[in-house]
Subunit: 205 residues, 4 copies
DNA sequence: AATTAACCGAGACGGTACGTCACGTCTTTAA
DNA sequence: TTAAAGACGTGACGTACCGTCTCGGTTAATT
């Protein structure tokens, strides 16, 4: 399912039952654009991806891009959105195990983007909108992790009084800092060790 | 002390004892540029700062900028460098207290930049060099924090086997994620709580 | 009719019968540029005319200039082209009279440019292309004069064996040397006298 | 002998009998500059010759150039001046023969410059001064030719009433037009034929 | 021998214009 | 009603030379 990232998307908008006249939006084109964007971003990095190049690669007129997305950041953000979408949540019963799995997933996701500049690029974009979209995307991605920790705390797997929100953000921050800033993908055992710095107790049941 | 950020800076470079001929680089101009850059970045945000504007504000020819810095990212990075430089390290004896102080300092530093896009902007800039500079800058900033934790572990204030490097990065990641991504400056007690998630013991002495 | 001066001009280029899609080149803008260029060249002289000024005066974006002309020399050359185009040829029957009229026309044309540096400027411009264009333009302008003399020689108004090509070039050279080099516009009777240095005989008829 | 081309030349300037103190202008440097300029102009054409390049080739500081010449046009003009200086005048007694020889010399001179853009370049230069210098140089070169023709007319080798000034200018114009504009060096017999278009009579004596 | 004026090298600086790139908007024709 | 094609305005970029202005060091005539 496609994330709603603020795109004005007539393909899904309600036309009130009234039959739509004229040529319909080409769904292939839409997909082609997103695929082309992903490829280009991975190949060239954010700043070298231009609307021109996306259009060319997707076999689409540049104007068409602007019809469906307000600017480059939006295209890239949506192109990347699927990858950032939560995905199937691990649920093994053990909070610790689930958290590690979740973070490993995040690492894999961000690595898949191929180029660390994507996040920075979208973030640096002129205009508030781009930033907000990406922010929301990441927030959505993180919510399950936070819920997981909250539940774990409730079930007594974690000592009471832990700053759950801050901890989750520190984990994500760790992954982002390593991948986006230092461009060094964290090893799996580092993630494990980081989580294990918290005094988890296995569930009784 | 000024960080070396890769800038070809004849003002500080070693001329091998050979007497320097020719007109000297105007130190006022240099300083004015950095000051102007800091101001503008805080006022307008990264993407609205242009070489043109920097030059105008600093009362300097645009060419002069390109003479000393390869591009905008370099100027901004150097302008921000001092602020990111370690500064006087807190040393109260308590690892926990020092760590908190250190992180608070980082928060204050990044907040001072005025615009979250600065970091992202410099990071997203074309060219490897810019990224590397900023990376090194942050790394330098973090080293003392890491040393602090190492010493703490040695002195037994922290249980053995903690992944110190990852923990430090998770703290920094936390601050960066909050300030740069979500644009919500973390409160002091959140930082405290985050640090306190580790089982510190006060030093015996 | 407008001279082809090597400009890639989609307005006149053959599209092979294939229907042209997309927005059309604004003909007003095109004309405005050429007019502005002529004015500016006359007012300021070649070297003070900049793309910036042309664009401003023509009410056009600077980019548009570069879209249609490779550089300043090309714009100026095309702007001047009409003026240099042959125009209505005098044909009074007398070779001598026609030649004088033709040369007077050339004098007037070059004078109209307003600034002697125009020719020199376009000529001195970087790039082979500019030179060639101007060269062709002048050559086109001269051809009728040469044909005139050829016909005159055939009809016996001139003694046989005269180096017609060289003579024509010497006349043009005279005008150019005076206007462009010495910046002294030749008087009409000087032109007349120059032509009369040749032993013309009036046609019998 | 070196032409005075408006250069403020302390090496030759009158100091009012007062003995000059201090270090003298380095004559080698002066010569090296002119030689370098000639070479570069021939190699690169006028517009690619920069003060920077001249200085480098001559092994001289750029500043030194500006000390002795006001701008590029002046340097080039002086560098070229010797070549344009009259040289040994042919005097065979026959006006026709001398004129042809003189023009052939001019052709050789201008060809030697190596690049047609030199003349155009100096002419197109900003500032009146450059133009005037070159103009004077050419005028000096032409005077003997004009005198020659004047004498010829006096001696009856040419019919009376010929516009001598215009004719000379047309000859020079011919050479310039061919070399500078069309970049086709005129053949010797063309020059001969052009001169022979005038009804010369050999001197009686 | 010391002084001093003029010269020279190296190089930094303000400035003007250039030509390029990408963005986002608008217009025309075809499907 | 879309889409493809493409022209346009806008803003910034980085480059190239220009001509000016210091500096320290060198050379030679004057004292």
């Amino acid at each position: 399912m496609t994330q709603d990232t603020g795109t004005q998307d007539p393909g899904t908008q309600d036309t009130g039952g009234r039959p739509r006249r004229g040529r319909r939006r080409d769904p292939d084109a839409h997909a082609a654009v997103l695929r082309a964007t992903r490829e280009l971003v991975a190949e060239l990095g954010y700043h070298r991806v231009t609307m021109e190049r996306i259009a060319a690669r997707a076999g689409v007129a540049r104007m068409t891009l602007y019809r469906w997305w307000p600017n480059k950041a939006a295209v890239v953000t949506e192109a990347v959105a699927d990858r950032l979408a939560p995905g199937p949540l691990p649920d093994t019963g053990s909070t610790r195990t689930d958290a590690i799995a979740h973070l490993d997933g995040l690492v894999r996701t961000l690595t898949l983007l191929g180029d660390p500049s994507v996040v920075a690029g979208a973030l640096a974009e002129r205009g508030e909108a781009g930033r907000t979209d990406l922010r929301d995307l990441l927030a959505a991605r993180l919510r399950p992790l936070r819920d997981l920790l909250d539940r774990g705390a409730e079930r007594g797997e974690l000592p009471p009084g832990l700053p759950v929100a801050a901890l989750v953000d520190s984990w994500v921050g760790f992954v982002l800092y390593r991948i986006v800033f230092t461009e060094q993908v964290p090893a799996e055992d580092e993630v494990t060790a980081l989580v294990d710095a918290l005094p988890f107790s296995e569930p009784d049941d």
